[in-house]
């Protein structure tokens, strides 16, 4: 297969442009990616793009990087995937490095120090807000409430490694659903999933 460098460059540039203008985490990039690849470039159809985002969300990693990689792959194989991924990553990378350098310079300034005393308190609020948002779709029945409470308790008192906890989550989910099936209890696997009786 001949490599079409011009096409790869186009993929790279499309995602490169999206990076620097989207503040507020990966999700903020989603509408931008959609506009670029669906409306401007017409690379992906509207009905396919939501499926790509759904898959990008369920594999490990940032949703923005994942969906860029996925779209890149569909356009031009492994090379396309790499072009799209580096395109989305490089601007962010440079900006973060620049901000890190800036922060290391100013962090001992008394004004910056006192600003950060207060900022740390609102970071706690930001994290709790993230938990609230994810909780809206994650915690909706007795089982999920219990799992959430257990996780907090185990982390707080046993100091297990979070990676172990995450991996155990996969097993817990499969096991709990199996057990509930066995007892004939219907589990809604997603918050807005319809129970399959009226089909």
């Amino acid at each position: 297969m001949k490599t079409n460098w011009k096409y790869l460059m186009q993929i790279f540039c499309s995602f490169f442009k999206i990076g620097p203008v989207t503040f507020g985490g990966g999700y903020a990039m989603i509408p931008m990616i959609e506009r670029e690849v669906v409306e401007r470039r017409k690379w992906v159809k509207t009905k396919d793009v939501s499926e790509i985002f759904a898959i990008a969300e369920s594999v490990p990693g940032a949703i923005a990087i994942n969906s860029a990689t996925f779209i890149g792959f569909r356009l031009a194989g492994v090379r396309g995937a790499i072009a799209a991924m580096t395109g989305v990553l490089i601007p962010t990378f440079l900006i973060v490095v620049a901000l890190s350098i800036l922060f290391l310079f100013v962090k001992d300034n008394p004004y910056v120090e006192s600003a950060f005393v207060a900022i740390r308190a609102s970071i706690v609020a930001l994290i709790l807000f993230a938990a609230y948002k994810i909780g809206l779709t994650a915690v909706y029945d007795k089982t999920t409430v219990v799992i959430t409470a257990f996780t907090v308790g185990i982390l707080f008192f046993l100091h297990l490694h979070p990676v172990l906890i995450i991996l155990s989550g996969i097993g817990v989910g499969v096991l709990v659903v199996k057990i509930k099936d066995w007892f004939g209890i219907v589990t809604r696997l997603e918050k807005d999933e319809e129970i399959k009786t009226n089909e």
Binding site: G19, P20, T22, F23, G24, G25, Y27, I55, A56, S58, V59, P60, G61, A62, I63, A64, F70, F73, V78, A81, M85, T92, F93, V96, V97, L104, Y111, S114, A115, V117, A118, I119, R120, S122, I123, V124, A125, L126, I127, A130, I134, G135, A138, V139, T148, A149, T151, L155, F156, H161, V163, S168, G169, G171, V172, V174, V177, T187, L189, E190
Partner: protein
Amino acid sequence: MVLLELFWTFLMIGFVSFGGGYAMIPVIEMEVSNHGWMTTQEFTDVIAIAGMSPGPIATNSAIFVGYQTAGIYGAIVSALGMVIPSLLIILIIASFFFRFNELRLVKSAFYGLRPIITGLIIYAALRFAITNNVVGSISWQSLSLAMIFGLSFFALIKLRLHPIYVILISGITGVVLY
């Protein structure tokens, strides 16, 4: 070899970063303090910077940690560590193009995974609250920090204020107060 350690650490985190963004904060925090790269308080500042930068929070934090620990090469290996797992997994899924997220087994895995991620983030909030004196001691500072926390949370949840403004406003408040 600190570069190798950074790469390996973020590679491992990259493979489990389900839920993205804030879900990975406690994982990165624990690794970073276990390795002695940063204190929890320093890491809180990293999140502030990562939240103010464009792009994904978890990847940004990894880049910042990498840079502070081992300069520009540290930043590069940390970023690579975070994205290589995503690349590999997506290549596998996309080349088979199987709708793995619609399988009942995968759905039940996520049924357990999602609340665990929620718990993980709640725990992170608790831990950060304690190390940054938002709760714990009864002093004027601790009380005012709890106020800032409460107001920020209110602004995010009720006023739907963008996180960047919350960080900026509380920064200005900090300069005035402390």
